[in-house]
Symmetry: C2
Subunit: 416 residues, 2 copies
């Protein structure tokens, strides 16, 4: 028996949702509302255990796959049917905020709870997923959990990665898995009927338009590169500049050359150098090694490919004296979400009386990889000043609840 | 009764000198002959204890002052006379070599031993000094020990410094002082008759000319700056470039502007950015803070002052959107050594049959600060390819011994 989605929306408990956010924000709390909860750290493990504790309170069974993605199941009438999935990630940037990622997980959990409260039965099971290591700050690439799940990345490649302190991902992952004992083991890439992910917008548009809901139409493409520049160290006071192979000066010239390559009067190309590590990194030693990252994004696949492909030559030309190694650590082509899922979000928002617009996503999300497996969509909610990846990131309780109402109602329809 | 300096030179034990270098190189050893022995670390403390153990073996009394400079005394006939000082520093760059600094200390110790072996009495006492924190990689400024000793820097200012891990210099210094208990406490700036410091050249000239000894005429000036660039962080995929305040891009533009400022067709200006720290330093977060260092050197004081004074404005112009804080952490004006000490080094080298040239120093040294207190000079020995501040730094046993012979003989003359 079908029930009105208004009844489901009314069952969303905004206070519980907010309180859970504040509880999770304690795991890795930084001064000024920041959060540092990188994949497989003690803070991430605390969040994993907390999520499973809440699942247990509500009687939901939990499972984990071999890359540490967590699944929490609200059974449907016919458990043999492929489930509908919802979720996001619980890891954060090294100096991130309290909402990016974790919102999609807690909104998903609250949606399950609201369906319980409303006594809303679904034919399909609904599963909440917390994808492993979406941010990629500790181990690249980001979206690791959803990529391994979808088959876009091999588990074995990930296991061999080391973080900046030399810790092997295999060991860090084993510790995370061991911290949630006694739950079911899950295979990768099991059949899914649909996937719907809630997330803060991470941009200024919904706030500017005073709208509650973004029905996300797709995600711009991303290419990540790690560029290692090698030169020779030496004494800052004695080595003539004419004979130096200064890795820092080489890297600076490369960044300038890539700024030129990616210049775009329409401001659509997004080019960012976010990480820049120098060795030996002492005031009076010439640098002999710099490792920096490039984050390049564009909604048009052909432009994204052309610009990214030009990076190695531009870097070589900019600093011909230095040695260069360029590794592409992630390639996410632009994607378009399933029109039926986008429409479902839009319809539900309208029926609930919430202002909604269609919009693309500037950030990448796990949904990008699940889109290859099943009909997929996303729900955005506004965040203050469009700020994310920062302790200043903020979304108000009402906005978080509005997105969760749409999520719960849309999941109900997708699973019925 | 005076003895021939050939007899003193013959008493220098090249094997003992080399073995002591290799012993010291174990404290902070890095792969490939590198050394990381920064001020007040466990490795530095091991070196301090080793030096005092050798001093004790030879019956020399030891002392320390309040910044941790160590003094080892070979008494003269008239202990009331101001002593002649020799020495250098035992700390290294974070990825330094086995000879920079430590050579001047071990050459000084070997000179005392050679004078003992040759039964050479001196009127004045000769004191070996190991200056604290010459490199400045952990706590800026470098030459800290000799600057505090000479009065160019206040002890209280140093005590309040913190290293990158937040460790207070006061605490690190207290641990170093506690590690050498039971030695005399020494005042700063006690009367000194003369100061002579042996060091590897850290440049290519002696090797190119096939000469054993550099009689150092003076030291070019140095100005150090620490430049903090602040912007706003945000998501690499969503924040339009037009509104970004990207601290990394700001710092890159500043480095380019300073490259232009310091361009010198004669290659006399030395401009180096050696340290560059980014926050949050994640691939897809726009940087909101970069701290980088400038090391600027020139032998002409007026040019050094003009270029250094232009740095703040050039930086502001290069990145007007970012906030900027510039601190000058060290100012060492060019100095000229005492002609009599320079001549003494040259004379001794000639009398011992060792090829010698007069030359300025490109690197700064503790001698620069002691030059303000008493007649001062330095002895350079060649190092392979002019390389220093690198694990590849190398000086052969014969070169090290030749410099020590000149040092021992010159100290004998200066103290007689």
């Amino acid at each position: 028996m079908s029930i009105p989605i208004q009844q489901i929306a009314a069952a969303v408990d905004a206070d519980r949702l907010w309180t859970r956010h504040m509880t999770m924000a304690k795991f890795g709390a930084l001064p000024g509302d920041g959060v540092c909860r990188q994949a497989f750290t003690a803070e991430d493990i605390s969040a994993r255990r907390q999520l499973l504790a809440w699942a247990k309170q509500h009687g939901y069974a939990a499972a984990a796959d071999a890359i540490g993605n967590l699944f929490v199941r609200r059974p449907g009438v016919d458990p043999a049917l492929a489930p509908v999935l919802t979720g996001s990630h619980m890891d954060s940037q090294p100096r991130g905020g309290r909402f990016d990622g974790i919102y999609g997980v807690l909104a998903g959990l609250e949606a399950l709870n609201a369906l319980d409260t409303a006594a809303a039965e679904t034919q399909r099971s609904i599963e909440l997923v917390a994808w492993t290591n979406e941010e990629g700050g500790r181990y690249e690439p980001g979206s690791m959990g959803s990529m391994v799940f979808s088959g876009a990345l091999e588990l074995s490649e990930c296991l061999a990665l080391r973080d900046a302190d030399g810790v092997l991902l295999e060991d860090a992952l084993a510790a995370a898995l061991a911290s949630t004992p006694g739950i079911e083991s899950r295979a990768f890439n099991f059949p899914i009927a649909a996937y719907l992910e809630a997330h803060i917008e991470q941009g200024p548009r919904l706030e500017a338009e005073n709208l509650s809901i973004g029905a996300v139409t797709g995600i711009q493409g991303t290419r990540w590169f790690t560029i290692t520049v090698r030169g020779d160290t030496g004494h800052a006071g004695t080595v003539p500049l004419a004979v130096r192979r200064d890795a820092l000066q080489g890297a600076v010239a490369m960044v300038q050359a890539l700024n030129e390559l990616t210049t775009d009067v329409d401001d659509i190309v997004k080019f960012t150098v976010g990480r820049f590590d120098v060795e030996p990194n002492a005031p009076n030693s010439i640098a002999d090694r710099v490792v920096f990252t490039v984050d390049l994004r564009h909604p048009d696949a052909s432009i994204l490919m052309r610009l990214g492909d030009a990076i190695p030559e531009r870097c070589r030309e900019a600093a011909p004296r230095c040695d260069l190694e360029i590794i592409e650590t992630a390639t996410n082509l632009p994607c378009e979400f399933d029109p039926a899922v986008v429409a479902a979000v839009e319809d539900v928002a309208r029926e609930l009386g919430l202002g909604c617009m269609r919009m693309p996503s500037g950030a990448f999300h796990d949904a990008q990889h699940i889109n290859a497996l099943c009909p997929t969509g996303m729900i955005f909610v506004p965040c203050r000043n469009g700020v994310s990846h920062s302790p200043a990131e903020y979304a108000d309780p009402k906005s978080l609840a509005a997105g969760t109402k749409v999520l719960a109602a849309a999941l109900y329809r997708l699973a019925s």
